[in-house]
């Protein structure tokens, strides 16, 4: 082999060849070469992403496992962290501030814990999304894969994290007298829709974060504002009943509030449909489809540019 290739090497520029007069572009076209690193079409991209589903799954669960692998209690922290979180909020808002405002204790505590966990799901998806590309440049510059794998994978990791939190949530809910019933089945569609929404958001943030890494510093403030505006610790209609009605409407139709309220409605016996804004399922579906679809296209548009320093 080395003999023949050596001959080929020497032949560079000496032996006349029918290809001599061609420009590089024409030569490429003649032998069917494609531009390296060009962005694939949207549908082809979806196909490529689907082809990498095992990687996406493995990457997200690997990240999740690696998170607590140095701790003595190990994976127990997956459940202990949300439990401690719930305890802190219970201590401050339930016992000290008594922020329940007309809700009974049995409703308010699960109301609060559900809100915290559901919002944390969106919040951490956004934060992970910002750093999905900018924090993994090494990976982006070393291997070939559809870049959307990273933000999707991070959103998936947050979903897995939420599923651990759900264990705590179930315990809290049952402890305060709301027992599993048919309405608990609604958890599944709520989670699916919120996951779609979060993935879309994560994709958008990943593209923005790849261009402007400073967003990682800015986003915690944005997210905190969003949290207080979404009624995590209080009921929006009760809190804003003296204000013009449109403020409460806008706040209630914001996606974080919609998914929180639907989850509360599914889980808590004393939180009936009167607490939900009208057309809430349509709004939940609309947000999910809009943000997931829009986010995906937005991310794909810059596919060939990720990885530039």
């Amino acid at each position: 082999m080395s003999e023949t290739t050596h001959d080929a090497g020497v032949a560079v520029g000496t032996a006349p060849s029918p290809d001599d007069g061609l420009s590089p572009g024409e030569l490429a076209a003649k032998y069917g070469l494609s531009v390296s690193g060009a962005r694939p079409g949207l549908f082809e991209y979806v196909g490529q992403l689907w082809g990498r589903r095992h990687f996406i799954l493995a990457f997200s669960s690997a990240k999740l496992t690696a998170q607590y692998s140095q701790a003595k209690l190990g994976q127990l922290w997956q459940v202990a962290t949300p439990l401690l979180n719930a305890l802190v909020y219970y201590l401050i808002f339930g016992l000290i501030l008594k922020a329940s405002r007309g809700m009974s204790h049995d409703v308010y505590i699960p109301f609060l814990v559900t809100g915290v966990f559901v919002f944390t799901f969106t919040q951490s998806s956004v934060m992970a999304g910002v750093r999905a590309i900018s924090g993994n440049l090494g990976l982006v510059r070393a291997l070939h894969f559809p870049r959307a794998s990273l933000p999707v994978s991070f959103a998936l990791q947050q979903l897995q994290q939420l599923l651990f939190s759900m264990i705590v949530l179930f315990v809290v809910t049952i402890a305060f007298g709301s027992y599993p019933g048919m309405s608990w089945l609604l958890i599944v569609p709520v989670l699916v829709l919120q996951f779609l929404f979060n993935t879309g958001l994560s994709l958008v943030m990943a593209r923005l974060g790849s261009k402007t890494p400073d967003l990682a510093q800015l986003m915690p403030f944005v997210m905190r504002t969003w949290m207080y505006a979404s009624g995590v610790m209080f009921s929006i209609p009760v809190m804003l009943k003296d204000r013009p009605g449109w403020i409460a409407d806008v706040l209630q139709w914001n996606p974080a509030a919609v998914y929180m309220d639907l989850m509360r409605y599914a889980l808590i016996d004393g939180y009936g449909s009167s607490n939900l804004p009208p057309h809430v399922w349509a709004v939940a579906l609309g947000w999910a489809v809009l943000v997931a679809g829009g986010g995906f296209v937005y991310f794909w548009k810059a596919e060939e540019r990720y990885g530039r320093g």
Binding site: T4, G9, A28, Y31, V35, S36, G37, F55, G138, L139
Partner: protein, 259 residues
């Protein structure tokens, strides 16, 4: 590879006036004051805090099937950048790279996680390179045996952070070398580890070369270039200084470096 020598040579990689520019944030004034940073953000067009590094300047060449091409040049001459651009991992500023199939860089370091066991890293690394679960299962034992990680006890089930640097490097190479490639690119200093493992990895690289259509090798070791390559591209300050048969280019290069 019967067509070479007799039939027309088939190009596999064509670089056409390729320019690569890195943009580095905050390279000029360090952190700068907050107001300066703010005004930079407001006047986005100018991008004052951003320094650009023109790493590859108008490189043009055509690589053919069956060639093994060495890339040489002093540190920071743009060799690794050029490889990444060929692989489509770094976007080109100007110019184009045309390739036949998907060129791949030999290396998976970035996909592996130190907190995971060697076992899970083999699977994760394989998936990251685009292998299917079945392919990984098939080659898993081969990868572990090749790395020699388990020669001194059951290390593959321990987290990678517990490995010595040599062991980790061996496992990384073994994972990276498990896949077959059309156009293969090997960055220098891959063959790490002890002498026994170096020998084994050199053999594996030779095997990969046989299977791959075209091989690019970046190295500072003129001997390994001479052993494996029949054509050499010499890059200096991002420009292609010389392109030709190994002996000729190396002779000039050695004169240049004063050896």
């Amino acid at each position: 590879m019967a067509e070479q020598g007799t039939g027309p040579r088939v190009p596999t990689v064509i670089a056409d006036e390729l320019h690569i520019v890195y943009r580095v944030n905050g390279g000029r004034t360090g952190r700068g004051s907050a107001t300066a940073a703010l005004s930079r953000i407001m006047r986005r067009r100018e991008e004052r805090g951003v320094r650009t590094v023109h790493a590859v300047k108008g490189v043009t060449f055509t690589a053919y099937r069956g060639e093994a091409i060495g890339l040489i040049g002093s540190n920071g001459s743009g060799k690794s950048t050029l490889l990444r651009a060929i692989a489509g991992l770094l976007p080109a500023e100007r110019g184009r790279v045309y390739t036949d199939g998907q060129p791949s860089l030999l290396g998976v370091n970035a996909a592996l996680m130190n907190d995971l066991t060697g076992e899970r890293n083999v699977i994760l690394g394989g998936l990251a390179m685009g292998m299917s679960r079945e392919q990984i299962k098939e080659r898993y034992q081969q990868i572990v045996d090749f790395s020699g990680i388990n020669e001194k006890g059951d290390f593959i089930t321990l987290p990678m952070r517990t490995y010595s640097s040599g062991m980790a490097a061996r496992l990384r190479f073994s994972i990276a070398a498990a896949k077959d490639h059309d156009v293969l690119m090997i960055d220098e200093a891959l063959a790490t580890g002890d002498r026994k493992f170096q020998k084994r990895s050199e053999d594996r690289i030779r095997e990969l070369r046989k299977e791959a259509g075209t091989v690019f090798l970046v190295s500072h070791n003129n001997k390994s270039i001479r052993d494996t390559c029949d054509r050499v591209l010499w890059l200096e300050r991002g420009e292609l200084r010389m392109d030709g048969p190994t002996d000729e280019v190396l002779k000039e290069y050695e004169k240049f470096t004063g050896k």
